[in-house]
């Protein structure tokens, strides 16, 4: 019987590490010494980027939480939740963060003396789960906690996905047999084994799930040997891991196509390519460093005469986005890296021209021909018009 595929090769014995931390805390308390919990600082100012590595990695900064009147609540909640999670690992049960929030509520209900620990809303319990992961430097998934599947709807005529299930059986999905129905990768995509029926030329990640679906309906995947993925906004861990799996297992070029604006570049494309500052310890598995930015590029705006919207300092939302673009140019190690100079140039272009252009604007080019957007995208890939 084949073992189920795991997320990553890790020799971490999570229950053992957790017990060691708790034991140390208890020892400190016995000696009337303040226990300190240390976790990796997951923020932009502790993010490092090396283009050879390809994703954001944590620096040396740690967040230390010492026991005192202000932190006693958080420490008690951390240890309480750690107990729940360790129990899940022991029994093999998996849960979403929302479910864990309700489980915590259930424990509080069953034992009145836990009442002070009760969580008022999910944000509070999420923060504790995140803290535990940062403290143990493990993935949330390794604590048997999974997010809802979101985004990543995939279409292809050639791709076949195989999953080894815990009961030893095998599930195989031939995407070519699904028609225009997408395949939805789960939030643990690394467990899939991918193979292709014939050669696949490229993988195209589209920011808007709707546009991806339109292209497929109009026959994009019939005419081109490719994989089409809808990102559905900021890519979730699942989408990031899935594109990474495609990139690593199939070794095909991957492209991202989305809006030409600061938000897409920083929050969507950068997160897909190099991960996020909030999940520094897991970017190695949840980012796809080889993805190229296909557009919309400033040169496309000119070449295809695409419609742009003005971005005004007077509009609060626009002003925030402009401010963020300036901040990012100054502080984000990803955009400061020499290899990504062309991406930084696009941000500078956006700041200078104060416009934004949506991905759907290519539908304005020769609207009588429904395959025009497809032609533009393929032409761009063919002529190397990407960054």
């Amino acid at each position: 019987m084949a073992n189920p595929a795991t997320l990553r090769k890790s020799d971490k014995d999570i229950p053992k590490i957790a017990q060691k931390i708790c034991d140390d805390m208890l020892k400190d308390l016995e000696h009337a010494k303040r226990p300190i919990l240390e976790a990796v600082k997951c923020s932009l100012d502790n993010s490092l980027y090396d283009s050879k590595v390809g994703y954001l990695t944590p620096g040396k900064k740690m967040v230390a939480t010492e026991l005192n009147v202000s932190s006693v609540q958080k420490m008690a909640r951390t240890v309480f939740f750690l107990d729940i999670l360790l129990n899940n690992i022991k029994t093999g049960a998996v849960n979403t963060k929302r479910e864990l929030y309700y489980m915590a509520k259930g424990f509080v209900k069953s034992d009145p003396h836990y009442k002070p620990l009760d969580f008022d809303d999910q944000n509070e319990s999420d923060a504790i789960i995140q803290f535990i992961c940062d403290m143990l430097t493990v993935y949330r998934e390794e604590m048997n906690c999974f997010a809802n599947d979101r985004g990543g709807q995939t279409y292809s005529k050639q791709l076949v996905v195989t999953e080894h299930l815990p009961d030893g059986t095998r599930a195989e999905v031939d995407l070519g047999s699904l028609g225009t129905t997408p395949f939805q990768p789960k939030n643990k995509p690394q467990v899939f084994k991918l193979k292709s029926k014939g050669k696949i030329d490229f993988c195209l990640v589209i920011e808007s799930e709707g546009t991806a679906n339109t292209l497929v309906s109009n026959g994009f995947t019939k005419r081109h040997k490719c994989i089409m993925v809808g990102a559905q906004g900021v890519p979730s861990n699942g989408v990031r891991g899935w594109v990474r799996t495609i990139q690593d297992q199939l070794k095909i070029p991957c492209y991202f196509y989305g809006d030409l604006d600061a938000y897409t570049l920083q929050n969507i494309y950068r997160t897909l390519k190099a991960g996020s500052a909030a999940s520094l310890i897991r970017n190695s598995e949840f980012s796809a460093p080889e993805v190229k930015f296909l557009g919309v590029l400033p040169e496309d705006v000119k070449k295809y005469d695409l419609h742009c919207y003005p971005v005004s300092e007077k509009n609060p939302a626009d002003a925030r986005s402009l401010k963020k673009a300036r901040d990012v140019l100054q502080n984000d190690p990803f955009f400061q890296d020499k290899r990504n100079k062309k991406l930084a140039d696009i941000l500078n272009w956006l700041l200078k021209n104060k416009v934004r252009c949506e991905q759907q604007s290519i539908f304005s080019v020769n609207p009588k021909d429904p395959t025009m957007p497809e032609k533009i995208i393929v032409e761009k890939i063919k002529h190397g018009s990407f960054v």
């Binding site: 957790a18 017990q19 708790c22 034991d23 805390m25 208890l26 400190d28 308390l29 016995e30 000696h31 009337a32 010494k33 303040r34 600082k41 997951c42 923020s43 967040v63 230390a64 939480t65 010492e66 026991l67 005192n68 009147v69 202000s70 932190s71 006693v72 609540q73 958080k74 420490m75 008690a76 240890v79 309480f80 750690l82 107990d83 360790l86 003396h113 836990y114 002070p116 620990l117 944000n123 999420d126 923060a127 995140q130 803290f131 940062d134 997010a147 809802n148 979101r150 900021v234 979730s236 861990n237 699942g238 997160t271 996020s276 500052a277 909030a278 999940s279």
Partner: protein, 590 residues
């Protein structure tokens, strides 16, 4: 066919348009009548240097002549200088007959419309004007008469005049019987008006009996009659060309040079030189005013407007003062906290203006809003409460423009803050620009709103120090509770994960108690130290100040509270930093 053009008297105009001067509804009619009478009494007392003692009676006599109205009697009795028998007719029965019109003084009344309008209202609704009893020091007996307005001629008519014995050396008593309706509380209420008047007149002793309620006496808290500063000459930049020319006619045959120097403030050699530089021909200066043509007036006026002049003097502005306000505010109810700010007079729109602000939180005060309702805003212009048309007023706009959340109060965007507070804001100026003749709102110029805003922010800072201290005490309480709640759970959960024996858990519990006990003891100590420091400063202030009423003490307490704030900051900041570090984690996107 052209219609016939007729002439009407001022009285006729006002008799037809009483709504413009505050008689637009039965409720307002009663309030305006009372207000005009009280204003006149207070102004007269101040002029004569007398400490005012007023007695106000408002009662219902039956149904009014108009539908849905009551017949209301308003009596105001003062110890002022009294009015000569010969002047009674013009004071109460003639419009625009005033001793104060356009003089540039900070008196309550300005134009001589209000009291005549009240007489007209009485006459129109009850067929009898005002009944006046008055006695000056020089009179052996008091004179009593009914004054009506001859509306066609704008003249006062004296009726039923008699002389009587009166039990006082001087004073005036007016009695109006009018159609109206009595409202005591709320923005337009009589009680609100009387409270406001007492607040900004610390030297006033006021007795009042309203309807069937018990009589109330509010004693004065200051024995100083406010000195009304002498009037100032107008500043040339506040005038329009027409006014400038009219002003010139008052001076007769003098030269233009002489007129400019004597008729205006801030015009001397330097200014005259400036006028010439800015295009006023030198020859004009020596011309007699009577020979100056309209075109020449215009040239001169234009030169004056383009010359930079010193700002007008602020000496003509009077203020109530922080100390007097502090004492006065405590007459309104039991005060828990207050802060008072009296700004120095400033120039706004070329006119001297003084702004004073008092913010108080009351423990006990009838009809005061609770936490969820807006604060009670008392507005004053030249020490007269403004009670209607709140939204358009410069004062309201200034209050709404301040971000009170920064000072610890709740507030929705661009509206009045919430809570059981009274905000009293007084604007004093010899030239207040009202939006209407009934003097209900101050015109909101940018400069004036900004000046009021600054005063409010100063008061807000004092308030915020106090609120912060309260919050800190509550915070400590919360933290101490935290220890009791979370400590045992933490140890228990740790013991469970490690599978520790009971003895070990017990040792850890003891250790935790020691640790957290240390923390709470430290925090309590810090708070106690702050309290002692506060007491010390209070005691010290009491020792040094001989004239230290309750108000002075409270004022010191506010400042002292802020000084003692410094003590616990070190520890709190440390905690704050740790908490900050806790919060740096970015939220997960998924």
């Amino acid at each position: 066919m052209a219609s016939k053009i007729t002439q009407h008297s001022t009285a006729e105009y006002f008799a037809k348009n009483l709504q413009q001067v505050g008689f637009s509804s039965p409720v307002k009619a009663v309030l305006t009548t009372l207000k005009e009478s009280v204003d006149n009494s207070l102004d007269a007392c101040e002029e004569a240097g007398i400490l005012p003692e007023l007695e106000v009676v408002v009662r219902r006599l039956g149904n009014g002549s108009a539908k849905n109205t009551e017949l209301v009697e308003v009596i105001v009795d003062d110890n002022g200088p009294g009015i000569d028998a010969d002047d009674l007719a013009s004071v109460f029965g003639e419009y625009l007959s005033s001793s104060k019109f356009g003089r540039g003084r900070c008196s309550r009344g300005q134009q001589g419309i209000g009291i005549s309008a009240a007489t007209t209202w009485a006459q129109l609704t009850n067929a009898a004007g005002v009944k006046v009893t008055s006695k000056t020091k020089a009179m052996r007996k008091a004179v009593k008469a009914q004054i009506d307005v001859d509306i066609k001629a704008n003249k006062g008519l004296v009726k039923n005049k008699e002389t009587i014995d009166w039990d006082r050396p001087h004073g005036t008593r007016v009695q109006f019987c009018i159609d109206g309706r009595v409202q005591l509380n709320g923005d337009g209420g009589i009680l609100t008006y009387l409270e406001g008047t007492t607040l900004v007149n610390p030297h006033l002793t006021l007795k009042y009996k309203l309807l069937d309620n018990e009589a109330v006496e509010v004693k004065r808290v200051s024995d100083a009659v406010p000195e009304v500063p002498p009037p100032t000459l107008p500043h040339p930049h506040t005038m329009k060309l027409g006014e400038f020319m009219t002003h010139a006619h008052l001076f007769g045959k003098v030269t233009l040079d002489n007129f400019l120097r004597k008729g205006f403030s801030r015009v001397a050699d330097e200014a005259i030189k400036g006028f010439v530089q800015h295009g006023m021909p030198k020859s004009f200066l020596h011309k007699a005013l009577t020979t100056v043509s309209e075109a020449e007036f215009k040239t001169a006026f234009q030169a004056i407007q383009s010359t930079e002049l010193q700002n007008p003097s602020t000496r003509s502005v009077m203020i109530v003062g922080e100390e007097a306000l502090s004492k006065s505010i405590q007459r309104l109810g039991e005060v828990d906290f207050f802060s008072v700010v009296a700004r120095k007079p400033r120039i706004c729109d070329f006119k001297p203006v003084a702004v004073e602000v008092a913010i108080a939180r009351f423990i006990k005060k009838p009809n005061l809003s609770d936490e969820a309702e807006q604060i009670q805003l008392l507005r004053f212009a030249n020490r007269v409460p403004l009670q209607f048309d709140k939204a358009a007023c410069a004062i309201t706009q200034a209050v709404e423009s301040v971000n009170w959340r920064a000072y610890g109060l709740q507030q929705s965007k661009d509206s009045l803050p919430l809570g059981p507070y009274v905000f009293a804001i007084s604007v004093v100026s010899p030239f207040i620009k009202f939006k209407n003749a009934s003097k209900e709102t101050i015109d909101a110029s940018d400069e004036l709103v900004e000046e009021i805003r600054r005063a409010l922010m100063q008061a807000g800072q004092k308030l915020s120090r106090h609120i912060k201290r309260e919050v800190r005490a509550a915070d400590l309480e919360r933290k101490l509770q935290h220890i009791e709640k979370f400590g045992p759970i933490l140890v228990e959960a740790l013991g469970k994960i490690v599978n520790a024996p009971k003895a070990r858990v017990k040792r850890a519990e003891d250790g935790l108690a020691k640790l957290l006990g240390r923390d709470s003891r430290d925090a309590e100590k810090e708070l106690a130290e702050a309290e002692t420091q506060l007491e010390k400063v209070k005691a010290k202030q009491k020792g040094t100040s001989s004239d230290d009423g309750e108000g002075g003490g409270e004022e010191v307490a506010i400042e002292a509270a802020s000084a003692s704030d410094e003590a616990p900051i070190g520890a709190d900041e440390r905690r704050g930093q740790l908490e900050m570090e806790f919060k740096v984690e970015e939220p997960e996107e998924v």
